[in-house]
Symmetry: C2
Subunit: 248 residues, 2 copies
DNA sequence: ATTAGTTATGGTGTAAATAACCAAAACATC
DNA sequence: GATGTTTTGGTTATTTACACCATAACTAAT
């Protein structure tokens, strides 16, 4: 390797051709239907080429002066009306040839996707169906083949969801202000599947951690003994940041 | 919000101006000097504007036809000769105004950084100093103010390093083929600091996990009883993927 | 040769956490 | 009043984490 090649490649006189990028954000948006105990993913129908008439993750291209995070929130706001959610960056997919638009029509353009992961409260999420494009919640296991590499992104997002639920209090971002331990457990079971902890041990662990504040109120829903209503105490959680909520 | 605004924004007729991006990769490259028990970060001296004469993380702009990962490996290969390493994508920093080149000279250009995180074997890492640009290992605690938002990226990288060391076998990517339990422990202490486990308990835990293969050989280095040499058994580790190596 | 120092090894024991399991309380419904 | 359902609040055995210690096997100094 010659010394010339050791020049920093962003040098203005660099001889190698740089790629020009359009940057998109694609969101893996999860929601938990606590009525039917289903983990749902939001998908939208594409009506433009490439991949016209394919389902895809909701996404958009980043505009001038717009941050990546802002673009991610905008995509979300364009598809659903909800203000109870958690959102974070996931991973950036940027290999050449991941988007058919890259070549040969426009040889010099690359499409890069900064994927984000979101969890929204199902009850509050009102889908915006504008009559033109299809939009739907799909149970995770029944998601069809998606456009681009979106199935891969989805797999990545699901892994992150499981991990976040295990180590972070994101459940409380989408649960109601007050909730029962049963509500909380159902959410965990729906996402993680059974076999991480039975209800009794789950209760004992969460209560011992000490960030669930008993409101003193009770709720009676159908048969069975009334359940205590709890509230998430963010301040009490703070020192427990590193502790796992559950063990898979 | 009008129905018009609900058009997917990557529609060819979209009225909003999209940003055009140059995409760079910036690498947080760590190494552990086991002689002096120091955690080191690789920084390079910039000689172009902006931030000329500032230290920075080694980076480059992505070329045509080059994947993000390939660009990250290229940066690394341009700075050091080493083939024992671990590398993965870290996070994508892409807000407007993170790079002074964005405005006002070229209003329409955005610079996005897909940061990567690497851990390399210190003994094998031969720095490529071509006489023009400075390059140096800095102890983590003594890293100066860096160009752009690189200090923030470094902080992010260090968090990932700690996490990886806790849950993944990346230590064995940079340890010699055979090593003593003392070598392994020193690596962990240097990165994580003291107070995660004493040597005796660390030994007991790692040996019990069962993926350290005793070679039967011994090594005597200076004073003290000779130590057994172990080898990492990737196959035996496989089922233990989710288990933590240590507890901080 | 003896002694001191150093590092590796292989243990204690106690406290805590995990996991499986169980019984009673408090409701609704029949 | 009996039955079923869900919450609550346990018990117990097993495993793990954590602090601590004793000896083995070497080097280096006296």
């Amino acid at each position: 390797m010659s010394a010339k090649l050791h020049r920093t490649s962003d040098h203005p006189l660099s001889p190698v051709p740089l790629a020009d990028f359009k940057v998109g954000v694609d969101n893996v948006i999860f929601s938990v239907d606590t009525q039917q105990n289903r983990l749902l993913v939001l998908v939208v129908m594409r009506h433009d080429e490439p991949f016209a008439d394919y389902w895809s993750l909701p996404g958009t291209l980043v505009r001038q002066g717009e941050s990546l995070e802002a673009a991610a929130y905008r995509v979300l706001a364009e598809k659903i009306r909800v203000n109870t959610l958690y959102l974070e960056q996931l991973y950036t997919f940027g290999g050449p040839d991941r988007d058919p638009r890259e070549s040969p029509q426009a040889f010099n353009v690359r499409y890069l996707s900064v994927s984000h992961f979101a969890l929204v409260r199902f009850e509050d999420a009102e889908l915006i169906a504008d009559g033109v494009s299809g939009i739907a919640w799909y149970p995770l296991a029944q998601v069809p083949q998606l456009a681009f590499d979106h199935n891969e992104i989805l797999t990545y997002g699901y892994r992150r969801l499981r991990n976040k639920l295990e180590y972070s209090p994101i459940a409380f971002d989408v649960l109601p202000e007050v909730f029962t331990l049963g509500d909380l457990y159902q959410l965990y079971v729906t996402v993680l599947g059974e076999g991480f902890s039975d209800y009794s041990n789950f209760r004992a662990r969460l209560l011992k951690l000490g960030f669930l504040q008993d409101t003193g109120q009770k709720t009676s829903r159908g048969a069975g003994r009334p359940a205590s209503l709890y509230r998430f105490d963010a301040a009490a959680f703070e020192p427990l940041k590193e502790k796992a909520m559950v063990f898979i």
